[in-house]
């Protein structure tokens, strides 16, 4: 399962990761080897097997819709890289 350089770049783009040339080369090699190892799963016939997403019985957990005090604004903004006017500032998204 050899991944091409382009595939690795595409995955990095999907994952929003800026990677150096060295990292791209390393991950191309390592991910190919890991995916080769994963191939052994194809030996099993799972056509009739249901997938397990969680070990718990699937159910919606509901609680009363009661208003509760939120975290204080300033506590949340205290961790922000760039708080501005009570908001999180980011570079412009629209021109």
């Amino acid at each position: 399962m050899a991944l091409s350089r382009e595939e690795v770049e595409h995955i990095a783009e999907l994952a929003r990761l800026a990677l150096s040339d060295e990292e791209l080369a390393l991950y191309q090699e390592q991910l190919s080897a890991i995916l080769d190892y994963m191939q052994q799963l194809q030996r099993l016939d799972t056509a009739a097997i249901a997938p397990t997403a969680t070990v718990l019985p699937l159910r919606s957990v509901m609680r009363e819709d009661e208003p509760r005090p939120p975290f204080p604004h300033e506590d949340i903004l205290a961790n922000a890289p760039e708080p501005r006017d009570g908001c999180f500032a980011v570079p412009p998204v629209l021109d």
């Binding site: 799963l41 070990v55 506590d75 205290a78």
Partner: protein, 486 residues
């Protein structure tokens, strides 16, 4: 005996009799940390002033008539568990300066019980690793041999407990991250069943597998710690509303007639001969205590590793999407928002975290979802069914915690697949959602501890603790101390 060397229940008894104060106990633990932690490097953050304040408060609560097994007991918390006002880094540059505005439910419960928090322990970045070598800050050293890893990812907590740098600790276990370091460091490590303990405030790695666990000096202490943190929490919809038994109640009971299953697939190639010998000897001990020991089959064991390393990275790639440099954590400035995300994440995450995000993104991406992620979820069903069948024939299963004892620092860092194999005996349990515990069952020729793993049915922690306690009473391995600080 020096105060720092006490177990939780020994210290609680002395506190109860008024022979010591929490303040004296906490001071002793802090002194121990200051004396040893330059060598061991178990802690990322120390909170000595706050700890002494909490110790005085615990002494005041006791003077006012309050009682409790954790009142005034100094504990450590793995640095992936949120602590209000105390940095919680997850061993990552991307959260290096993050200070949570709230306590995790488990921390809230420990504080309510009067525990004293002495600091936050080292971990592989976002709990992804088996040695603490993936911590962005430093590698913790095994107290039994400073040239070796303590295991991981809860290696800081395991090393701190082993070196008496705290009386007990919390860790987290997604594929073995409590049990494997407990085995490597010669302490008791308990991973509760999925849904037994609230994950509210545990920084998410793989949400269908993550569970907070405890690291302790003996089985009684593990039971006490679990009792303090277990139970329903409305803030985690996966935390199940089932009764929490008194975990200490079953500790003194015998195990005559109890059925112990030995999964034959766990004794194959790659198992260090000394580990196999120690585990076989432990099984003989359990048989002498009256248990019925017989072989069981877990035929899909060999698939646990590929299943885990598809499901966990897939969930991680989604969970770690939140680190985007907007609301908290590192930000690397760029002219566009998209570029800022990429630069922040490229610089903020370490090599293993990026590797798993890439792997998980690939497994979830269009065209590969069915072949990898869905396939892994289906094989997960088969692995879970293996355990259901085995637990029809046995009350608990017993096997090694890891195939080898602690390896040397640097030995496996360049080979991710080889590193992943160190968790081969622990991963399946997270996939099946069952509970398990590691406790010491011997030492190899290098004097390194060997871990015995006891697995139980979902929500049957009491049974696992009962078997562990019976074994512990019949042996003396847990009394040995590592050669540090003598």
């Amino acid at each position: 005996m020096a105060l720092h060397a006490l177990t939780i229940h020994e210290a609680a008894a002395r506190l109860e009799r008024g022979e010591i104060t929490s303040l004296a106990l906490t001071e002793a633990v802090i002194e121990r940390i200051l004396a040893l932690d330059n060598d061991i490097q178990a802690y990322i953050t120390l909170t000595p002033e706050a700890a002494l304040e909490q110790a005085r408060a615990a002494d005041a609560r006791r003077a006012a008539g309050e009682r409790g097994p954790l009142l005034g007991i100094p504990l450590a918390i793995k640095d992936v568990i949120c602590t209000q006002g105390i940095p919680t880094t997850c061993g990552s540059r991307i959260l290096e300066d993050f200070v949570p505005p709230y306590d995790a439910t488990v921390v809230e419960r420990l504080r309510k019980a009067g525990a004293v928090i002495v600091g936050k322990t080292n971990t592989d970045e976002f709990a992804m690793g088996s040695s603490t070598e993936n911590s962005a800050f430093f590698t913790t050293r095994n107290p039994w041999d400073l040239g070796r890893v303590p295991g991981g990812s809860s290696g800081g907590s395991a090393a701190a407990v082993a070196a008496d740098e705290c009386l007990g600790a919390l860790g987290s276990d997604t594929g073995g991250s409590v049990r494997q370091p407990a085995g490597f460091c010669g302490v008791v490590g308990l991973k509760p069943s999925y849904g037994r303990v609230s994950r509210y405030g545990l920084v998410a790695y793989a949400s269908s597998l993550d569970q907070i666990g405890v690291l302790a000096k003996d089985v009684t202490d593990a039971a006490l710690l679990l009792g303090a943190i277990a139970g329903h929490d409305g803030r985690d919809s996966t935390c199940v509303d089932v009764p929490v038994p008194d975990y200490c109640a079953a500790l003194g009971e015998g195990i005559a007639g109890l059925r112990i299953g030995v999964p034959r697939e766990y004794f194959g190639a790659g198992l260090q001969p000394e580990v196999e010998a120690a585990v076989r000897a432990a099984l003989d001990t359990l048989a002498r205590l009256g248990a019925q020991v017989s072989e069981v089959a877990l035929p899909h064991t060999e698939y646990a590793l590929p299943v885990y390393y598809l499901i966990a990275p897939a969930e991680a790639s989604a969970n770690l999407a939140r680190y985007d440099g907007v609301r908290y954590g590192l930000r690397v400035e760029a002219s566009t928002l998209a570029e800022q995300y990429k630069q922040t994440r490229g610089r903020g995450f370490g090599a293993e975290v990026k590797r798993r995000i890439m792997l998980g993104t690939y497994a979830l991406s269009a065209g590969y979802y069915d072949a990898y992620y869905l396939k892994a979820q289906k094989v997960r069903t088969l692995i879970k069914a293996d355990f259901e069948r085995a637990f029809e024939q046995a009350d608990v299963l017993v096997c090694p915690t890891a195939p080898t004892t602690a390896f040397r620092i640097g030995e496996k860092v360049d080979d991710p697949l080889h590193m992943y194999l160190t968790d081969i005996f622990t991963l399946s349990m997270n996939l099946a959602g069952i509970c398990g515990l590691s406790l010491p069952c011997g030492f190899d020729a290098n004097g390194l501890p060997i871990g015995l793993q006891i697995m139980g049915r979902a929500f049957d922690e009491a049974r696992v603790l009962q078997v562990a306690s019976a074994y512990e009473r019949a042996t003396a391995w847990h009394q040995r101390k590592p050669p540090v600080g003598r």
